[in-house]
C-alpha cells in the first residue's frame, strides 16, 4: 500500500498577516487576503511560474480582509467575494480590482466566514453568497440584489448573540433545494433549509466550531465535517435524518490542537484534509459502512456512520494554519496559509491510488 505524501513545494514569506488563500478556478493563480501592519487590507494575486510563486498583482484596501470565495461567480468572470473586518461584503473583478463590482454593509462586526454556491458550474440554481459574522447573524446574498440579503438568520432579540465562526453551503443539487450550515463559538451547529426557510437540524459539539464543510455543495447532502476548538472533528452522514436522533456521526481526536480548517478534495469527496493549530495537516479518508441506514425499534430510518482513517500527516510550521484550499483543477495541488506569515503551495501525491 502506497500512502500519499505531502510535499511543501513552494513557501513564500509575506509582510502582512494572511487570513485566507484561494485558487482562482481554471488557472495557475491563487489569491491571498490579509491585514497589513498599518491596519489596512490587502489582496495579492500570485501565479505559479516554473516552480515559483510570482506576485502579479497587489491591491491595498481600507479594511483588513478576512475571507473570500469564488463560489458564486461564473467560470468566465471569476469575481472574488470577500468579507472584511468591518462587516462589508465586496465583490471584486480581479482584472480591475480598484473598485468593487458589488458592495454591501453586510454585518455590524467582522465577517468571519464566507461561502458561495451556484457559480463555476457547482450547484444548480441562483448564485448566492453566505456570510457569517461575530454579530451572530448569518446572511445569504444574491449578487443581483443590492443592499438587502435574500435570507437572514439571526438570534431572537434578548438572546445572547453567539459568534458565528463558520458557514457553508450544501444540498444545492437542483434549482430549489439548498442548505446553509453554520457553526458557532459555543459549539452549536445549525442547518438552515433555504427552500423551506426553516431550521432543519441543530446540534452542539460542546466546543467552538471552527469550520464546517459539506463534502460536496452540489449533491444531495451526503456528508458534513465539523471541526472544533479542542482538536476533534465530527463527520455527519447527512443522508438519513432521524426525527429525534438527527444525523449519525463519527468523531475523531486528530490534532493536539484546534482544527482550523477542513477541506474536501474536489476530485474525491471521501478524502479531506484538516489543518491544525500546531501547524500540521492531516489527510483523512472516510469509509462508508456496509449499510448506510438501518431501522430502529420504532421502524424509523436511522443513519449509520462509517469510519475515518488517517492517510498522512505533515507538520509545516509551529504556528496555526488558518486556511487551506485544494486546486479545483489539479488533483493534489493545494495552497495554505498560516500565522507564521507565509503561504505555501503543497503537492499531495498518489491521491488517485487511495
Amino acid at each position: 500500500m502506497t500512502f500519499p505524501q505531502v510535499i511543501a513545494h513552494i513557501q513564500k514569506s509575506l509582510n502582512y498577516t494572511v487570513f485566507d488563500s484561494k485558487w482562482i478556478p481554471c488557472s495557475a493563480k491563487f489569491i491571498c487576503l490579509g491585514n497589513y501592519p498599518r491596519g489596512t487590507g490587502v489582496i495579492q494575486i500570485y501565479e505559479l511560474q516554473h516552480g515559483e510563486a510570482q506576485l502579479i498583482k497587489e491591491v491595498e484596501k481600507p479594511k483588513p480582509l478576512k475571507c473570500g470565495t469564488f463560489g458564486a461567480t461564473s467560470l468566465q468572470q471569476r469575481h472574488l467575494a470577500t468579507g472584511d473586518f468591518d462587516g462589508n461584503l465586496n465583490i471584486w473583478n480581479l482584472e480591475s480590482p480598484e473598485v468593487p463590482v458589488y458592495t454591501a454593509k453586510a454585518h455590524k462586526e467582522i465577517v468571519n466566514s464566507i461561502d458561495g454556491v451556484g457559480g463555476l458550474g457547482i450547484g444548480d440554481g441562483a448564485p448566492e453568497i453566505v456570510t457569517g459574522s461575530r454579530d451572530g447573524t448569518v446572511k445569504v446574498w444574491d449578487p443581483r440584489q443590492k443592499d438587502l440579503p435574500v435570507a437572514n438568520m439571526e438570534p431572537v432579540e434578548g438572546e445572547t448573540k453567539r459568534d458565528c465562526w463558520t458557514v457553508a453551503f450544501g444540498h444545492a443539487f437542483n434549482d430549489e433545494d439548498r442548505c446553509v450550515c453554520a457553526g458557532y463559538d459555543n459549539g452549536d451547529i445549525k442547518l438552515f433549509d433555504l427552500r423551506n426557510m426553516s431550521l432543519r437540524w441543530e446540534t452542539n459539539i460542546k466546543n467552538g466550531v471552527c469550520c464546517v464543510e459539506f463534502d460536496r455543495k452540489d449533491i444531495d447532502m451526503n456528508k458534513l465535517v465539523a471541526t472544533s476548538l479542542e482538536g476533534k472533528f465530527h463527520v455527519f452522514d447527512m443522508r438519513t435524518q432521524h426525527p429525534v436522533k438527527g444525523f449519525a456521526s463519527v468523531s475523531e481526536k486528530a490534532h493536539k490542537s484546534t482544527i482550523w480548517q477542513v477541506r474536501h478534495l474536489p476530485q474525491n469527496r471521501d478524502i479531506f484534509m484538516t489543518a491544525g493549530g500546531a501547524g500540521n495537516l492531516h489527510l483523512w479518508k472516510y469509509e462508508y459502512p456496509a449499510k448506510r441506514s438501518k431501522q430502529d425499534s420504532d421502524g424509523m430510518d436511522v443513519g449509520v456512520a462509517g469510519s475515518v482513517s488517517l492517510l498522512q500527516n505533515a507538520t509545516l510550521s509551529s504556528q496555526p494554519i488558518s486556511s487551506l484550499d485544494w486546486s479545483p483543477d489539479k488533483q493534489g495541488l493545494c495552497v495554505c496559509s498560516g500565522f507564521d506569515q507565509s503561504v505555501r503551495v503543497l503537492i499531495v501525491t498518489k491521491l488517485n491510488l487511495v
Binding site: 435574500v150 438568520m153 444531495d220 482538536g231 496555526p320
Partner: protein, 843 residues
C-alpha cells in the same frame, strides 16, 4: 518563532492567538473537561480587547513550553518501572495499557530507551494497527523522500498542468460574454416579480411568503410550522405534477443538466467532467442509482466515452442489462476497440444468456490485451457454461462428465476469489480449457493445454486424464496408456482409467503383439506426495456398489424430507413478496430434485418479479422440457419474453397458452396488449427502446391457488391508474370482458385533463366506442358534468382525428346517443349550446 509584525491589536488576532493557546494546552487529553465546560476563560480573554500585542507573544511563548512543563501522567496512573521491560511488553495484550507505556517511554521520564520504544511500537502495531498512539508527526516530504525519477515526474506533471491551465485560462478570457446564460438563471430568492412569463410555467417552489426580499429573523423561524409548510408544498406538488411518475429514481434530481447550449466546448467539457466525477463518487459509495443519474447528466452536457462506460458499469451493478447494453453500444460506436466497453458488453451478454456473443466480445478484448485477467476469467467461466449446455444437448457419456463439470465449476469459483497469479490457478485454467477442447473434439489443442497445465503442476489428475483421453481419441495408444497408468498411480480409484487401461492393453496387444510392453515409453514414477488414495486398498466392487447404493438411498430419503419443506418455504416467501429469498429456496429444491416441473415454473415467477427475464425464460424452457404442455410455463415465458422485449416470441407463447386452455383470460388480455406493442415496435423500428414493463400479477402458491387466480384475475381491474400504462391495462381488461361498468369506474377515477395523455397511443375505434358506451350507460346518470368534462378533453387526444375518420356506424350510433342524452340533462356547468358545439367536433 517569528514575531508578528502587527502593531495594532485587532479583535480577530487576539481571538486567534487565544485559540492557539487553548489548542496547545489541550495537548493533555485529561484536561479536556476544563475547556469543554463552556470555556469560560476563552471568553474572558477574547473580551479583553485592549490587550497589547506583546501579551500575545507572551501567551504564545507560554503555550510553546506548556507541553514540557505539564507532565501528562499523574501519580495515580503511573506505569511502574518494571513494566518497561521487553518481557512484560511482549506478554501485554492490553492495548490501552501498552499505549500508556509507549507514552511514558516516549516522554523520556524514565530514561531514553530507543530500542525498547521501537519494540513497544511494533508490538502495539501487531495488536492494533490503527492505534492513535502509533501516529507520529511527520514533516512535509521533500525531494529527498522520493527517488529521482519520481521527483522529476512530479515536477514534470506540475509543469505540464501549469502550461495547459494557462492556455485554458487565456481561452476562457477570450470567450464571448453571453447574457443568455444569465437570463436562464433562476430568479433572486423571494422576488417573483422578476420572473418572465416563459419562466413562470416552471414549478416555483420557493416559499417565501413575502413578495419582497425581506430577511427572516429567528423569531419567525420559531413560528414556522414545518409540518404545515411541508404539507403545503406536498399539496402543491400533487396538484401540479401528473400522477404518473415513470421514473421513480431520484425524482428530485433532474436527469438532464440545464446548461446553455451557448457555452463553449471547453466549459461544457469541464462541467461534464465534474458531473462524471460526482457519478464516480456515488459509485464508490455504492449508490448506483445516483451514479447513473449523474452520468446521465454528464452525458446530457457532452457525451463522452468515459461517462457512457461508467454508466454501463453502474447499470450492470443495478442489473439493468438493456440499459447497460445500450451504453456499451454507444461507446463502441464512438470507439470500436474500447476494451472496457467490450468487457462490459460481454458481462451483459453473459447475464442475458447470449453466451456466444459474450465469448466473441471477450476474444476481442484478449486480442488487444492478452493478459487481461478479468477477460480471461470470464471467458473460462463462459466456456464452462457453453460446454455444459452442449453436454446437456448431446446427452452423451453423462456420468463422468457431469461430475467433472461440477467440480470445475467450483474450481472456477475459487479462481475468481483468489485472482490469477499462482501457477495453480493457471493450471486449472489450462485444464478447463483442455476440457472444452476435448469436448469439441479438438484433441490436438487439448493435449497442448494439458501439457502446459502439467508443466505448471506436475502430476495433477485432471489434465493427465484429459490428455490420456485426447491421445486415445487420436489413436496414440502408447502415450494414452502411459498417462492412464500415471493417473492410476496418483489415484487408483479412478474407474474410467481402469477401464481405459484394460481397453488399451487389448488394443496394444493386437497392434504390437506380446512384446508390446517394450515399445512403451517410460511411465513416470509418481512421488508419494502426489499419490492420493495409494494407501487405501481399493475396495472390492461389491462393497463399492453397496456403498454407492446406500449413499443414493440416503440422499433420496433426505431429499424426500427436505424437498417439501423447502418448497413450502419458497411458496411462503412468494406470498410475502420476498422473491429473492424464494428464489434461493427454489434453487435448493432443484438441487435435490432437478426433475420437478412446478419448481421451475415457481422459480420463473420469482425471476419475473425480480426482472431477471433471461433467467426466467431459461427456467420456463426447462419446465417445458419436462412437461411440454405446461400452460403456466408458457405463460411465464411469454411474460419473460415481453420483459426481454421479444414481443414476437411472447405472442406465440401466449397463443400456445390459449390453445391449451382458451379460458385463461389473463393470457388473452396480455396477448392483446402484446400485439399492440409488437405492432408499435415494428413501426418504430428497433431504435426506440421501451422501458421494461413491470409485470403485475398476483399469484400465490403454484399448486393450490393457480386455478383460482386464473378465474379471478381478469375481474380485478386496477381502478386507480397512476400511469398511462396502468390506465391502458385496466381499460383493456375492461374492454375484453365487455365490462362497461368497470370502464365507467375507471373513467370516474381519472381526471379529465389526464385522459387524452393516457389514451394517446391506445385510442382506436373500438376503444372510443367502448368509452362512449360506458359514459352513456353508467356515468351519465350519476355525474353528467364529468361526462361533459371527459368529452371536452377527449377530442384533444393525439390520435382522435384519425380515429374519427375511421369510425364505423356502430361508434357513430353510440356517439349520437350519448350526445342526445347529454343535451337532455340540465346542468349549471354547461349549456345545450356547449353540448352542441362539442357534438360537432365528434360527429
Amino acid at each position: 518563532m517569528q514575531p508578528l509584525k502587527t502593531t495594532e491589536p485587532s479583535p480577530f488576532l487576539l481571538n486567534t492567538e487565544h485559540l492557539c493557546l487553548v489548542a496547545i494546552e489541550t495537548d493533555d487529553f485529561h484536561s479536556n473537561g476544563l475547556w469543554a465546560a463552556g470555556s469560560p476563560t476563552a471568553y474572558r480573554l477574547t473580551g479583553s480587547e485592549n490587550l497589547p500585542v506583546s501579551n500575545t507573544v507572551f501567551i504564545k511563548a507560554m503555550s510553546g513550553g506548556a507541553a514540557h512543563q505539564n507532565p501528562v501522567w499523574d501519580s495515580s496512573r503511573k506505569v511502574p518501572a518494571e513494566h518497561l521491560d521487553y518481557g512484560y511488553i511482549e506478554k501485554c495484550k492490553d492495548v490501552k495499557y501498552l499505549e500508556k507505556i509507549l507514552r511514558v517511554l516516549r516522554s523520556g521520564e524514565e530514561g531514553v530507551y530507543s530500542h525498547l520504544t521501537e519494540f513497544c511500537e511494533s508490538h502495539l502495531e501487531k495488536l492494533q494497527p490503527k492505534s492513535r498512539a502509533l501516529r507520529k508527526e511527520t514533516s512535509a516530504a521533500t525531494a529527498a523522500s522520493f527517488s529521482k525519477d519520481e521527483w522529476s515526474q512530479i515536477l514534470q506533471e506540475l509543469q505540464t498542468w501549469e502550461e495547459d491551465t494557462k492556455r485554458t485560462d487565456m481561452l476562457l478570457k477570450q470567450d464571448l460574454f453571453d447574457d443568455l446564460v444569465k437570463s436562464k438563471m433562476p430568479p433572486v430568492r423571494g422576488s417573483r416579480c422578476l420572473v418572465s412569463p416563459s419562466q413562470s410555467l416552471f414549478p416555483e417552489a420557493r416559499k417565501n411568503p413575502s413578495k419582497r426580499a425581506v430577511p427572516r429573523g429567528y423569531r419567525e423561524w420559531d413560528k414556522f410550522d414545518v409540518e404545515k409548510e411541508c404539507d403545503n408544498i406536498d399539496g402543491d406538488v400533487l396538484k401540479k405534477d401528473p400522477p404518473a411518475i415513470l421514473d421513480t429514481q431520484h425524482p428530485k434530481l433532474k436527469q438532464e443538466a440545464d446548461v446553455s447550449s451557448l457555452l463553449s466546448q471547453r466549459q461544457k467539457l469541464l462541467l461534464a467532467n465534474r458531473e462524471k466525477d460526482k457519478g464516480n463518487e456515488a459509485f464508490r459509495a455504492k449508490d448506483f442509482k445516483e451514479a447513473v443519474t449523474y452520468y446521465s447528466r454528464s452525458l446530457s452536457i457532452l457525451p463522452t466515452v468515459g461517462a457512457y462506460n461508467n454508466r454501463a458499469q453502474a447499470e450492470i451493478n443495478l442489473s439493468r442489462w438493456h440499459d447497460a447494453m445500450r451504453d456499451c453500444q454507444q461507446v463502441l460506436e464512438l470507439d470500436p476497440d474500447n476494451k472496457k466497453a467490450l468487457l462490459r458488453r460481454a458481462t451483459v451478454h453473459n447475464h442475458m444468456g447470449n453466451v456466444q456473443l459474450a465469448s466473441e466480445d471477450l476474444r476481442g478484448v484478449l486480442r488487444q490485451d492478452p493478459y487481461n485477467i478479468a477477460a480471461t476469467q470470464l471467458l473460462s467461466k463462459i466456456e464452462e457454461k457453453m460446454s455444459e449446455c452442449q453436454l446437456e444437448q448431446e446427452q452423451r457419456s453423462k456420468k463422468i462428465f457431469i461430475e467433472e463439470v461440477e467440480e470445475e465449476n467450483s474450481c472456477s469459483m475459487k479462481e475468481l476469489q483468489t485472482g490469477l497469479d499462482s501457477p495453480q490457478d493457471l493450471c486449472v485454467l489450462y485444464s478447463n480449457r483442455a476440457a472444452c477442447f476435448l469436448k469439441d473434439g479438438n484433441s490436438q489443442d487439448c493435449i497442448q493445454d494439458c501439457t502446459r497445465a502439467l508443466e505448471l503442476q506436475p502430476f495433477s489428475l485432471k489434465p493427465l486424464l484429459r490428455r490420456a483421453m485426447a491421445y486415445e481419441s487420436l489413436e496414440q495408444y502408447r502415450k494414452a496408456y502411459v498417462d492412464y497408468k500415471t493417473v492410476l498411480q496418483i489415484d487408483s480409484s479412478v474407474q474410467a482409467a481402469h477401464d481405459s487401461v484394460n481397453r488399451i492393453t487389448r488394443m496394444l496387444i493386437e497392434q504390437d503383439g506380446p512384446e508390446w510392453r517394450q515399445k512403451l515409453p517410460e511411465i513416470p514414477l509418481v512421488p508419494l506426495s502426489a499419490q492420493q488414495h495409494r494407501r487405501e486398498e481399493p475396495p472390492s466392487a461389491e462393497v463399492l456398489q453397496a456403498r454407492v447404493e446406500k449413499a443414493a438411498r440416503e440422499a433420496e430419503r433426505r431429499a424426500d424430507v427436505l424437498f417439501p419443506a423447502l418448497k413450502q418455504e419458497g411458496n411462503d416467501f412468494v406470498k410475502k413478496g420476498q422473491y429473492r429469498d424464494a428464489f434461493g429456496k427454489y434453487t435448493e429444491c432443484l438441487k435435490l430434485k432437478p426433475e420437478e416441473c412446478s419448481i421451475y415454473t415457481n422459480r420463473a415467477l420469482c425471476l419475473l418479479k425480480l426482472e431477471r427475464f433471461g433467467e426466467a425464460k431459461q427456467d420456463c424452457d426447462a419446465a417445458l422440457r419436462l412437461e411440454p404442455a405446461n400452460k403456466k410455463a408458457f405463460y411465464r415465458r411469454a411474460l419473460a419474453n415481453k420483459g426481454l422485449q421479444d414481443f414476437l416470441a411472447c405472442s406465440s407463447d401466449l397463443q400456445e397458452v390459449l390453445q391449451l386452455d382458451p379460458s385463461v383470460q389473463e393470457a388473452q388480455k396480455e396477448l392483446e396488449e402484446v400485439t399492440v406493442l409488437l405492432r408499435q415496435s415494428l413501426a418504430d423500428g428497433s431504435k426506440e427502446h421501451r422501458r421494461t414493463v413491470l409485470i403485475r400479477e398476483v399469484d400465490g402458491d403454484e399448486d393450490t391457488t393457480a386455478v383460482q387466480s386464473n378465474c379471478t384475475g381478469a375481474v380485478s381491474i386496477n381502478q386507480k391508474p397512476t400511469s398511462a400504462y396502468d390506465f391502458g391495462q385496466s381499460l383493456n381488461a375492461a374492454r375484453c370482458s365487455g365490462n362497461t361498468e368497470a370502464c365507467a369506474e375507471l373513467l370516474a377515477s381519472t381526471s379529465p385533463e389526464q385522459l387524452p395523455r393516457y389514451l394517446s397511443t391506445q385510442l382506436d375505434g373500438h376503444t372510443l366506442s367502448f368509452i362512449m358506451q360506458a359514459l352513456d350507460s353508467h356515468l351519465l346518470e350519476k355525474n353528467p358534468n364529468l361526462v361533459y368534462q371527459h368529452l371536452h378533453h377527449l377530442h384533444t387526444a393525439d390520435r382522435f382525428t384519425v380515429v374519427q375518420l375511421l369510425q364505423d356506424m356502430d361508434t357513430h350510433h353510440h356517439m349520437t346517443q350519448l350526445f342526445e342524452h347529454l343535451s337532455a340533462v340540465e346542468s349549471a356547468e354547461f349549456t345545450k349550446n356547449d353540448v352542441q358545439n362539442l357534438a360537432n367536433k365528434y360527429i
